[in-house]
């Protein structure tokens, strides 16, 4: 009898110990940032997402981040540091962390990794990205209607498919409502460099652009537009407070729900490697409030209608017919470009001047 008692006692204390352990040990979620969260653009929105996940999941997770990690051999050390210090889930939030993420993931098979905007996966490495180009379609439409000089200045970062896809989506929508629209592109070859981004904006403004579009991480281009008295679209986050008289709208990246969902999967032990590419329908891409001081009411209504159409699938940003610069038909009438073509897009559509840097 005493033996059984003893046995029960051991079992119960053990299970209490195990139970309390499960409560006391939150899952650790780490983030690698390319810039500082104060960029009020790309990294800022990832940080907003991190905080959202923390709020949603409460005590079951704790989060940390390392900011300003260069996209070279140093990234391996930073990612590994997170993995080695007991993190269960690690988000690496820039494209060029791709090989470094896989290198560390190989060494830590029990840690889950999530790499933003890349294309290489493994059993413990997922990839995720947003269909930013859906937003580009809407701002393209707005720019086509709003530009007086028929010239749009476009600050592009790197000639990778994501950026080229954005330029094409923007131009297809803009030229549909304004066949005379011209787009001038400057490649700055950086994601985060406020000085360079502002210089590029000023150059484009001097070349006659009255709307500035960007695919970089900060609000510097929008501020440059504000100073010069032209219009601009914000990038990644609502940047209206930095350029209230220039800001037409912005394409916002909403990572919070995704981060919360993936962290929850780790807490519950249901995480599997996958590729996520969500857009407006899922709420990963959201348009900032349209600026009614600058835009006529009917144009705002058109933009809102486009949002609805993109969400329900009746408007596809890459609906055929689409021709490339050489005049060849790449997407026939009645069809939409498939995800494979979008993921590897490395050509300009017909009508865009200039060449992709080769």
């Amino acid at each position: 009898m005493i033996k059984i008692f003893k046995y029960l006692f051991v079992i119960s204390t053990f299970s209490i110990f195990a139970f309390s352990n499960a409560i006391a040990d939150p899952k650790k979620v780490g983030f690698i940032y390319i810039g500082p969260p104060g960029d009020h653009g790309w990294t800022y929105m990832h940080d907003v997402g991190r905080i959202h996940a923390e709020r949603m999941l409460g005590d079951s997770i704790s989060t940390t981040y390392i900011e300003g990690v260069p996209e070279n051999a140093d990234a391996v050390r930073a990612i590994r540091k997170l993995a080695a210090s007991g993190h269960d889930l690690i988000f690496t939030t820039s494209f060029n962390y791709m090989d470094q993420t896989l290198e560390v993931a190989k060494e830590f098979p029990n840690v889950k990794f999530e790499h933003a905007t890349g294309y290489k996966r493994a059993d413990n490495v997922s990839t995720y990205s947003a269909r930013f180009y859906e937003g580009r379609t809407i701002i393209g439409h707005i720019a086509g209607k709003m530009s007086k000089t028929n010239t749009v200045g476009y600050i592009a970062s790197f000639p990778i498919p994501e950026v080229i896809r954005g330029i094409n989506a923007f131009y297809l929508a803009a030229s549909k409502v304004n066949p005379d629209i011209k787009i001038k592109i400057i490649w700055v070859f950086t994601w985060y460099d406020p000085g360079k981004e502002a210089d590029a904006a000023n150059t484009l403004i001097n070349q006659g652009a009255d709307i500035i579009v960007q695919h970089t991480d900060t609000f510097a281009p929008c501020q440059a537009a504000e100073k010069a008295g032209v219009m601009a679209f914000g990038q990644a986050s609502n940047q209206e407070e930095f350029c209230p008289n220039a800001h037409l709208t912005a394409i916002e990246d909403i990572w919070g729900p995704y981060y919360a969902e993936r962290a929850k999967a780790v807490v519950e032990g249901t995480w599997t490697s996958q590729d996520t590419w969500d857009g407006m329908a899922e709420g990963m891409v959201v348009m900032s409030p349209y600026n009614s001081k600058l835009m006529p009411a009917d144009l705002i209504q058109e933009a809102i209608n486009m949002e609805i159409a993109i969400k329900d699938g009746t408007l596809h940003p890459f609906a055929g017919p689409i021709y490339n610069q050489a005049g060849e038909l790449v997407v026939p009438e009645g069809q939409n470009a498939d995800d494979g073509m979008l993921a590897g897009m490395s050509f300009y559509v017909q009508g865009i001047d200039g060449e992709i840097p080769q």
């Binding site: 780490g30 500082p36 940390t64 981040y65 390392i66 900011e67 300003g68 260069p70 996209e71 070279n72 051999a73 140093d74 391996v76 050390r77 930073a78 590994r80 540091k81 997170l82 080695a84 210090s85 494209f95 060029n96 090989d99 060494e107 294309y119 790197f158 000639p159 990778i160 498919p161 070859f189 993921a343 590897g344 490395s346 992709i356 840097p357 080769q358």
Partner: protein, 357 residues
Amino acid sequence: MINFLPSVVSRSQSSKLMSLFVPIIAVILTLMTGSIIFSLMGFNPIFALHTFFISPISSAYGISELLVKATPLALIAIGLAFCFKNNLYNIGAEGQLTMGAIFGGGVGIFFHDTNGFWLLPLMIIAGAIGGALWGLIPALLKTKFNTNEILTSLMLVYVALLILDYLVVGPWKDPQGYSFPKTRSFSDSGRMPLLFSGLRIHFGLFITLFLIFFSWFIFTKTIFGFQLKVSGFSPSAARYAGFNQNRLVYLAFAICGSFAGIAGLAEVSGPIGLLYRDISPNYGFTAIIVAFLGRLHPIGIIFASLVIALTYLGAEDAQLFMQIPAAVGFVFQGLVLFYLLGADFLVNYKLEFRKNK
């Protein structure tokens, strides 16, 4: 009446002992200032300094990472010593590093599907040649046209970076890479052998140690080393002694460039394994701090490279464990240099409060 602005007076004799202690004093003052900054930020300074300087190297992996970071810094810095000892202010080691990575990495990309023991040595030689050629351009401009090597070497950094940009975005782009700006990976024999499995420290460490020893030998045991020193102290004395000044300029730049080139190649064939745009976290510029912190002396440079490398690692740990911004690491580097230059100045000069006449 006392003039409150002191005047700067050159010391007739500067203390040899003090000048040896300057780097140590600078490091101690940096730590003290650092504790004050940490306290003001609301952290326990002892805990903060421990996180910053001890915890990064409290594991085998941490020590390996310290060496991975210190190796290129030490190699470039010892090369810079050849130039700086001769009062040649080569600021362009970053460009020479990039050119070394392009030349050596180019060989690696050309033979990306070939394996052979000869590949890595060939890449190292190509890297050294690339760096040396890039270093010889400011040397040539200086000897032929008397241009300022600070400006030309610095400007050539940007030229080298743009050439690398062009190559990885254009002709050397990985055909299977979805047009992302990076090249194919080198074959296995194009990679620096790892010294321990699971750690990133690679054969480049031995190359660096060998070249540091080689430099010490040149500085102390050869006529060339003596000539460098004399011509640095007093160019006119060197001229009277009949030293060929131009030859010294060419040699110093070629050696410095080739060392930086090897450092660049070691970085791409070591931890990276291919070429892309952002191969160096400004090793070529940081090495300038290392060279001066190490007093242009081989042993000093080894220690200095470890100290500076530690500020990088520490900045990451501080972010992770204390949520301190990354910029604090740069603050430490700046403080070290500031105190070093300040202490150096006070060793050679003194401030005098004199009465107005």
